[in-house]
Every structure is written in C-alpha cells, then in structure tokens.
Amino acid sequence: MANDTSTFVVISPWGKRLLTAFFVVFLLVLYLPTVLLVVFSFNDGTVAAFPLEGLTTKYYGLAFSSKEIRESLGASAWVGLGAATIATVIALMASYPLARRNVRGKAFISALMLVPLVVPTVVLAVALLLLFQKGPGQVGLGLTRIMVAHVVIAIPFAVLILLPRIASIDRRLEEAAYDLGATGLQTFRLVMLPLIVPSIISAFLISFVFSIDEVVIASFLSSDQVTYPVYLYSGLKVPEKTQTLIPVATIMIVISFVLAFGAEAIRRYGDRRLVGK
C-alpha cells in the first residue's frame, strides 16, 4: 500500500489516467509494425500487400528448415551476447573512475568514448576492413572481428547509461563502507553494484539490441559466416527469401515475450518468498 501513496505523491489520479492512456497509445504504435509482420508471415505470396493472397504456415516451415537462417541467427546471438558483455564490462570499468576520480584528460577521454557514435558506420566499416586485413597483424575477418567492432560502437551507449548513474550515487555511502573497513572491491560489490544493477542490465540490453540489428559493419567484416541482419539485408532483395525471413521476426518477438514474462514470473516468485520469510 506504500506504493500507492507514493505514486499519489508524484502524480495525481487524473495525471495517471492520462499517462496510462498515452502509454497505451505508445505501445500500440510501437507494436503496429511488428503485428503487421506477424500478419504477413502467414501471407501466401511474396508481395506485402493487403488483402493477403492467402493464408499459409509454409514459410514457418521454410524458415525453420533453412540452415542459413539458423546459422546466421546463431552467429548473431554469439556476436550480440559477446559484444554486449564486453561492452558492458569495459564501460563499467571506465565509468567508475570517470565518475569518481580526478582523471587527467577527462574531456578528451569522454570525447573519445562518444565519437564512435558519430562516425557513419560505413566509414568505420571500411577503415576496420583495412585495419583487419592489411593493418598490424593482419587478423583477417570473421565473427569475433564483428564482435569487437560492435563493442566500439556499443561502448558509448553503455557509458552514457552507466556514467550518470554512478555519478548520481552519493559518495558518502562508499566513504562509510571504507570507514567500516571494507576494501575497494568489497565496497564496489556490496554498496555500488546493487545500486547500479538496473543500469548494468540496461547497458547490456542496449548494446545487445544494437549489435543484433547492425548490418553495415557486419557485412564488411564477415567472411564465410554472416550474421542474421546481413543475411536478411541481402535476402530482402529476393522476394522469395523475404517471405521466409518474415517468420523469423515473429519468432523473435515470441522469444522476447517469453523472456520478459519469465523474468517477471521469477521476480514475483522471489517477492513472495521474501514476504513468506
């Protein structure tokens, strides 16, 4: 019940109704394209137009049985999870001193972190292609190269999420921990980490969403294995392939819903246990 009164503090009942309405409209618009994709995934034809030419589930069969689609989705998952993990860890490590300590050249470092956002991906893609193929070491192409390239672009996103949050945490919390004899690492783990977990998850999510949708760098740096967006981008030029790619969108949305509601169920279960104690 404490929850209700505190909501009342920040927003009046009418304001809440208005906001709820706004949020519902927002969600409808947000989901409209996705819903259309679900509808078209059952279209028995290769042109996306209403009325549908007929209903069929055969493209789901084709999508599931396509080795290329499976492999490219696997590649994307690997690149995306890897890039998001690395980017989040590196950004977390970097954000802490930037928020907390006197770092020489802070302005320069901050600018350096943000500029990868600015450079059009095609420019970075061409330059990285040359770097990997002809630069020091000649490391060649492949999925791990795409992953590290995605880390470069995901870092600004992750830092922009983590840094303000760390900076907003009161320093005296840590000072108190130190005074009570905690080491630096203990302080971070016991005081800081619980406070920034939501930001860490958000940074991870944003990096992941960026990576699994990135097509330009991935297409330049891929060798024989391609990521899903690259396969999709070339497949969109062929109507027959486009139609087998649309069911994948439906599958993705189902998976993300299962994840969202699964997480919610786990949280509720956890809450109940806490209350039970």
Binding site: F40, L112, A127, L160, R171, L173, E174, G184, E264
Partner: protein
Amino acid sequence: MCRLPSGAPGIRMATIVEAPIPPKQKRSRRERRNDGGSALSTYGLLAPMLILLSTLFLLPMYYIVLFSIALKRFSPTDALASLNGELNSLSAELWAKLLSVNVTVMLPGLNFNVPVLLVGIIFLVLLVAAVTASRIPEYGNWIVGIAFVLLLTPFMTLPAGNNLLRLVELTSDGDYLRLFFKSVSMAMTSSVIAVVIAIPVAYFLAFCVGKSKYTWLLIVIAPFLTSYLLRIFAWKVILGDQGLINSGLIAIGLVDEASPLSFLIYSQFTVIVVLTYAWVPFICLPIFLAFETIDRRLLEAAMDLGATRLQAFLKISLPIIAPGIVAAFLFVFIPSIGEYITPSLVGGTQGTMYGQSLASQFVGGAFNWQFGSVMALFLLGVVLLITFATARFLRAGGGGL
C-alpha cells in the same frame, strides 16, 4: 521505499543512509579525492577502454584522415598501396590551394565571399571557446551557450521551414552542404520528438507501474529485437498511399480516395517518423534510469512545504533528470546525422540525407574514398563541437561527463 529497483535488502540500507543528504551539496576538493582509489587502479580501470578505442577506433580514423589529405582520388587498391607507405605526403601547395578557396554566403539580399580559412578559424575559435569555457566556473555556461546557439542556428530549422536554410547556401558545392544541414535538421527534429515522447513514457514506467516496471521496460524494448529492416518494411505498409493510415482516413471520409496523403511515404516526414520510432527505446532507457535516481521523499518534502506537483517536477525532478535527457538526446541525435539506411529505404527523392552521399563515396562504384573521408571528417568535426558543447550541460546537471 518507493524507489527501490528490486527487493534486495542491501539497497534498503543504502537508501536510508542516502536519505538525509540534499542532492546538490558541494563537496570540498579533498573529499572528492577521498574515494580509496590509487592512480594505478584509476588508469587500470580505464585501460581496457582506452586500448580498445585506440586500436579499433583511432587507428581506423587515422586511415580516414590519410585518405582525406591524399593528393589523388582513391580506389580501394590505391588505399591499400597508400597504407603500405606510398602515401603522397600532405603538401604545402595543396593546403595553400585548399585554404585560398572562397565560399559565398548568401543572406537574403546580401551575398559575400568568405575565405574558407576564415570559416575554419571561426569554427576553431568556437571549439576552443567551448572547451575553455567549460573550465570557467561562473560565465562558462553563458559562453558555451552562446557558442552552442551560434553553431546550431543553421541547424535548428524544422524541415518544414527550409527557407531558413538558404542563410547558409554555400555556392561552392552547395549540394553537399545543403544536404548536410538538412540532415542535421532532420536528425535534430526526430531526436527532439523522440525525447518528448520518451519523457512521459519513462515517467510512467518509473512511477506508475509498481514493481513490474522492468517487465514493462522489456516489453517496450521487445519489438526492437525484430530486425529494423523488416520493421521498416512494415512501416511502408502503414504509410503507403493505400496503407493503413490512408485507408483509415478514407474510410472515415477525412481524405479523398483520389488524393491520399502522399507525404506519408517517401518524404522527410517519413524519415523523421521512422527514425523517431527506431530510437525511442534507446531514449526511454536513460530517461527512465534518471527518474529512478529521484528520491521520492524529496518530492514529498517539497509538497509538504506547499509546492504543487508541477513545481515539484520542475524544481526537483527536472534538474535531476536533465543529464539523462541530454544523454538520451545525444544517443539519438548523433547517430541519426550520419544515418543512411533509413533515408534510402523511406526517404524517396525528397528525404535524402548526407550519410547516403557519404556512404556512396565508399561503396558506390566510383570509390572516391578521398572525398568520402573528407565528408566523414567534416561530419565528425561538427558533431564533436556539438558534443563538447553538450557535455558541458551533462556536467552542469551533475551527470559526470
């Protein structure tokens, strides 16, 4: 208890300890350093990022700088040759030629030539001003603010009012510059709209949905796990002449079937709509997290002291979330300027953007990597200025950058 992100007991304690401290208290320099970290650990923590960005960003950008100052046009093979040590060094002659070019600025009823050197110096001065001003405590905000406004004046035009863009119609290759300014204004419009939409959404998520807020956040992000290219594909079905919107409007008699709203597809409008759509979740997240940092007891206290909800929002919430909003704005604005897939899919002939021309220099068959690199560095230069200026506001709000 209301602002707890989850049920972890550690946070309860933390919140209580935090409670009695007003957010904007100034701290002494000595206290600031008192965080238990040595210089070694500071730079040790920064090292992975610095190493990564130096090798995978600065080094590639160095190649781009090399391309941009090379004397001849580049093809991929030339570029490789040059990286292998045969690059024509930057000659004084080339620079003299570059710097002696005049650009014509056309104001209404007044044309005048400006040496490009002067334009460069003005940009540089503004940059230096922005950087230095960020170190001056008292008037810094003013100086940065003025520099910011000066830099952005040409960009602030909404696409509808393209007349203003003629202020900066530069005759020497006006095409690409006009395209640049148009792109900046389109990117800015879509970023502003996205922020305006995201604030209430984030507010709702932070304050109105109780403990399931993270589930709702995931639901907001979920559609973005399906491919962007496919969602654009769907947007075309929505916005087309016989699409959902036009069909709906025709059905209720607002629009004549013979003349549907044709600006909905293949226009600047479409690009702005789709860009806004594409970036909204990227904006919702940082703003939501900013709202999460607000201690509601501050708001309660303010209202106990007689403030209205609006006053409490403006005086307490807004200053706290300001850095989050600026960060969110940068999130969207910066990558949108160089965007090229969206405009080439839904922009039509009217909604073209700078990034398309830039990309086509690299992959368009003429392989003019030199010109492409110059276009990229120009973009980079302008955006760096904007970033420096905005970083000031991030800091002013306590954001830390």
